[in-house]
């Protein structure tokens, strides 16, 4: 259990497994999420970070009842997500909203921006009259920086830039006034030049609407911009968790350390360390025994293939899953100026 945050979490994930059967022949199932524990506290921005295929999407989909839970539990407030009743499912769909990665594919091109944003309100029958519907749609568009809302409402997706389309997806999530907003790689497809405005939009909306933000990214520099806490996944397992300053400024886990070290820095004099990590996450046929990172880890020893290290405490609210937690002194990633955004 995490010792970060106050009181009981908004979302409590316990020993969550989401396994998929492989289609070709029988074989081992894909353990997309494997024994994950995670707390999400009301009002925080929690970033899930990890390489492609690490299980980030599957985890956040399971939290919103969009992926089948193989075993373990997800509690959202007092709702048991794994065993939702029909009536609960409907409320759940409103309380948790998603924004996905690809702003180019997530819309029906024949729908106007107005109907895209109005649709969730219609589905949940949340607007009494046409004028109320219009009011709420325009309000959401304005809040997402699409002004004048009346003009944007009349446009179609192909008339918008990638960043504007992503603002529309955020507006469509916002109209339902969710408690938990889950964003899965919402800026990965966008130019760097528009990313930071979208990120600050998320942060602003989270505050003004008193939402909780669960944000998935493969890019630690994005997490660094907005996260209160960061949880790092590797091949279905959570390997490190802590405040943004802890995870990025003083990573305890060798995998996180490698991730931080690989972040490109816009400085020609930067001496990026040689990535000590071998191979790619996807080079691995099947899941390695023991610590899943051991075939690539520059610090691995005999113990690493023999036991699966549990996520254990390395500092206040800071946990790492590594058999060498107590002995490794990882050099601070010297390129970072830590200190919070305030």
């Amino acid at each position: 259990m995490s010792d970060a945050g106050n009181g009981s979490p908004l979302v409590a994930v316990r020993e969550l497994n989401v396994h998929f059967k492989r289609s070709r022949r029988a074989g081992q199932p894909v353990r997309a999420v494997d024994g994950v524990d995670l707390d999400i506290f009301a009002g925080e921005t929690l970033c899930i970070v990890g390489e492609s295929g690490s299980g980030k999407t599957t985890l956040v989909r399971a939290i919103g009842h969009l992926a089948p839970i193989t075993s373990g539990s997800v509690r959202f407030g007092d709702v048991d997500v794994a065993h939702l009743r029909r009536s609960e499912l409907r409320t759940m769909r409103r309380r948790v909203q998603y924004v996905f990665q690809d702003p180019f594919e997530s819309f029906d091109r024949r729908q106007s921006i107005f109907s895209i944003v109005a649709q969730p309100l219609r589905v949940h029958k949340l607007a009494g009259s046409q004028s109320e519907l219009e009011e709420r749609v325009h309000e959401a568009l304005e809040e997402c920086g699409l002004e004048p809302a009346g003009e944007f409402a009349r446009l179609y997706p192909h008339q918008l830039s990638g960043g504007q389309r992503q603002r529309v997806s955020i507006a469509a999530a916002l109209v339902l006034r969710p408690e938990l907003l889950i964003a899965d790689e919402p800026v990965s497809m966008l130019d760097v030049s528009v990313r930071s405005d979208i990120l600050s939009l998320f942060v602003r909306l989270k505050q003004s609407h008193q939402m909780t933000l669960l944000f998935v990214t493969h890019d630690l520099s994005v997490a660094w911009e907005i996260a209160d806490r960061i949880a790092v996944m590797y091949l279905g397992k959570m390997v490190e968790e802590g405040s943004a300053d802890q995870v990025i400024g003083r990573p305890a886990n060798p995998y996180t350390h490698a991730l931080v070290g690989a972040i490109p820095v816009p400085d020609p004099h930067d001496v990026a360390p040689e990535p000590g990590v071998r191979g790619d996450i996807g080079d691995i046929a099947g899941i390695p025994a023991g610590c899943r990172f051991h075939p690539r880890c520059p610090f691995a020893d005999d113990r690493c293939s023999a036991m699966i290290p549990p996520l254990s405490r390395v500092g206040d609210g800071h946990r790492s899953a590594c058999v060498r937690n107590d002995e490794l002194e990882l050099p601070a990633p010297h390129r970072l100026a830590t200190g919070s955004a305030g």
Binding site: S52, V192, S193, D197, D219, P264, D267, G282, T338, A341
Partner: protein, 325 residues
Amino acid sequence: MALLSISDLTVDYRRAGRVIRAADGVSFDIERGSVVGLVGESGSGKSTLALATMGLLPANGQVTGGSIRFDGAEMAGLEEAQWHSVRGRRMGMVFQGAMNSLNPVRRVLDQVAEPIRTHDPGITKAKASDRAHDLLSLVGIPGDRHKAYPYEYSGGMRQRAGIAMALSGRPALLIADEPVTALDVIVQARILRLLENLREALDLTILFITHDLGVVARLCDRVVVLYAARAVEEGTVEDIYGHPKHPYTRALLQSVPNFARGRGKSRGIPGTPPSLLSPPSGCRFHPRCPEAMEICATRSPGWTRFAGEQVATCHLYGEEGHSNV
């Protein structure tokens, strides 16, 4: 003499009876053995410049002005037949999205061997296959994986295979269009390192295209910044990162998260890149520029030359030492 010299290049696309000028008087040189970064937002014309240089513009696209000199020879008006001796041989290209463009049902080794045989029709099948093995090893794919199918590869490995294919004709110039954009950071760092090593080992000249100023600082010698189909600033990496002159370059740098600057300090560029169907008058950046003045909306700024070889086009600087680089 520069290996590649692009001067006053204009490229037009025709779409539904309208003309989109995707390169509008672009000029820059790439010296032999150097790495030049071509940086700009999506739609600024980066891929267009790459495709024009490779003679691979789609049927509705055409070079309508200026010149592309490669190794001293003019490429701009070449007939398709003449391109064959250049493309893939003296120039190789890693395409945007190359990762996803391998044929899913052919073994990677065979796909890498194919361009080798095209470039060298006399080569035996076994020799071509040997060379494909060499290339795949060169880009860091372990020997026991050469005969796998693309779906058995990770994104990073597919990108390495794409680089191997681009190298199959032993090119002098490698054009890499957003080769790391979709990759995870560790893989991205390793691909960048690979390009660095290949440059040394093969004496390559590289044109590296990206929208992210964060990734090119270390690899490149020079950077050309493109905005709405025009070059707006060019200089060494020290110039561009140390003392950028053009407000757009500055804004691009501000938008990159920079750990050295601390958290929450990056700022996006307001507005969106203009449509090239109806680009803004005067300086094309003026609707988004924090420093725009009256003159900016009506007159296109000329080039100003700064210390060293840094050049920028912006009314903030007048036009001393003006030269149409």
